[in-house]
Amino acid sequence: MALNQLHFEFAPATPRAFPVAAVHYGVVGSGDMEVIIEACALAGKTQVTVTTPVTGFDHVWQLVLGRFIDESQLADAHISINDNNATPVVVSLRLRQALLEIGE
């Protein structure tokens, strides 16, 4: 069993470009994750790559990430996540905290 990589793409309705080059947040502890958000010209879209040992929760990732994009309208960005069994609440929290790191 290798690590799984999941890829997602979102197109927020009212795109807000990511204001800095990149931000990193979080620690890949057990039940936790880290994220890098980087500005990236994607024609108003945002792409997400999740690297995780967990299988079978692709649809949950889709929804959690979708909600984050809905709330933030983050656009033209690439999000990279290293996950280690983070629950959806932790995922949402870390994504929000990553934005708070840059004062968003």
Partner: protein, 598 residues
Amino acid sequence: MERKLRITVGDKTREVTVQELGADGHPLPAAVAVAAIAAAPQRRPLDPKWSTIQRDTNERMSHMLPYLTRGSKVFQPADTVAVLNAVIRSGDRVNIEGNNQKQADFLSDCMCKLDPKQINHLHMVQSSVPLASHLKAFELGIAEKLDFAYAGPQGAAVAKAITLGKLKLGAIHTYLELFARYFIDLTPKVSLVCAYEADKDGNLYTGFNTEDTPLIVEATKFRGGIVIAQVNKIVDKVQRVDIPGEWVDAIVQSPKPFYLEPLFTRDPGLITDTHVLMAMMALKGIYAEYGINRLNHGIGFNTAAIELILPTYGEELGLKGKICQHFALNPHPTLIPAIESGWVQSIHSFGGELGMAEYCAARPDVFFVGPDGSMRSNRAFSQTAGHYAIDMFIGGTLQIDKYGNSSTATAGRVAGFGGAPNMGCDSHGRRHGTPAWLKCGEEFTDQQNLLGDVPRGKRLVVQMQETFQEKMASSFVERLDAWKLAEQAHLDLPPVMVYADDVTHILTEEGIAFLHRCKGLEQRMAAIRAVAGYTEIGLQAKPAETKSLRAAGLVKTPEDLGVDRRRANRSLLAAKNIRELVDWSGGLYDPPARFRNW
């Protein structure tokens, strides 16, 4: 020919057989007690037809007498098995004291050394079976039937013993319910209890960890049963008489102090940001909203987080003096900062928590401390208080089904209930009013519909649970594992910890569902879905429906509550580790070794 001597006790005289005499020619204490019973002035001579229990007990005790040190009720640890062998008969109802805190572990170990060929088919009636030796008695064939309330770490072993036919289950109770049955149809014949100290006459000091002892002894002794106590120390004079010596038949100083489980100690170091978020939601959305002043907290990191943000976030919200003043609660170490900050007026405890004795003794304004200066817990009273006199129970669980029933049972584990359901329910016998109880009752739409125009209150029963636990185990399920367990272990009904009709609030990181405000089951289920996050149940939520539930105040998200997520982190905790709890207590809290981080 049997020789008899005449002895005098008080103003009564009675004959004693030679066997009842010690080596110095004086009667042995139990013989004195028997004589005393016979000599009691108010008592008519016993009619054999109506004193079979007592005669049976007397007969058994006569076999125990040779083991007692002259002039006392003390026997030697090495004679323990022999003493048990003398007083226990096959088929007896036997109680081994032990709850989720103190355990009569030495007596339990010794009972397992009885010969199953001689003594078997015992019916164990006891609060809990968390020790390996409790189950061993069944494996060895000494015990056969079990009526209990809590199995804790032996949950899997109980399930296995049932499956193997080694254990016949009577019923799984709540504590108060089981205690009640001790006085109706499950009275023990022999009870093996434990205490800190005893004197030679059997007076017991159970002190801080009094817990179930008074109740067990009363039920046993007043139905002519036999009470044997293991004590940590035999002293000349006990610090305080918690149990009168007349009610105790024999005592032994156990080789090691009785085992005490620090079940209610939560290391603040393990509280997560999510716990803090949910604690903030609880304070703002429930405690403040209803003015909760009389309450119980379940065990867990969620409630520990609430306790630890009272002096920070609670203070900020101006809630001091308005909430959390009276508790039915074990001495939770995590409540120390709130106590020290002047939040709490009184706490009555079910049991004593390891390491908290000195702290509680030093805070007699808050805890129930006796004239001798030490706290006394008493589970029966605290359970009663928790059932009738609190306005809110808040605690976690493992699984909540789509209707709002919750259970900690998992397949393959008969964990039992403990005392939580006595609090996590509405007490239908309650008649006194408080603002919180009345407000909740007023909002309880379905109850009002059945009552017409008569007002009635309702206890708040709050289930506080993250939508997912470790390793992505879902907290919200279509059907409780309790059903599966009921099948496996041949239970009468699935073990439900808190029934849906009792629950008023479900609090998750997504929001609070105000279930009692809903109309009918359908709306309740929708509210549950709305806070069930990304679980299978939560994914069935319809966005439009959730929106209207929020608009109606039946569901509130952190944003609806005005809880700032950015502040939801560990820095809000008044103590972040055990050491800081010790500091808060001024060095009075002495945490168990396994929790130390210095």
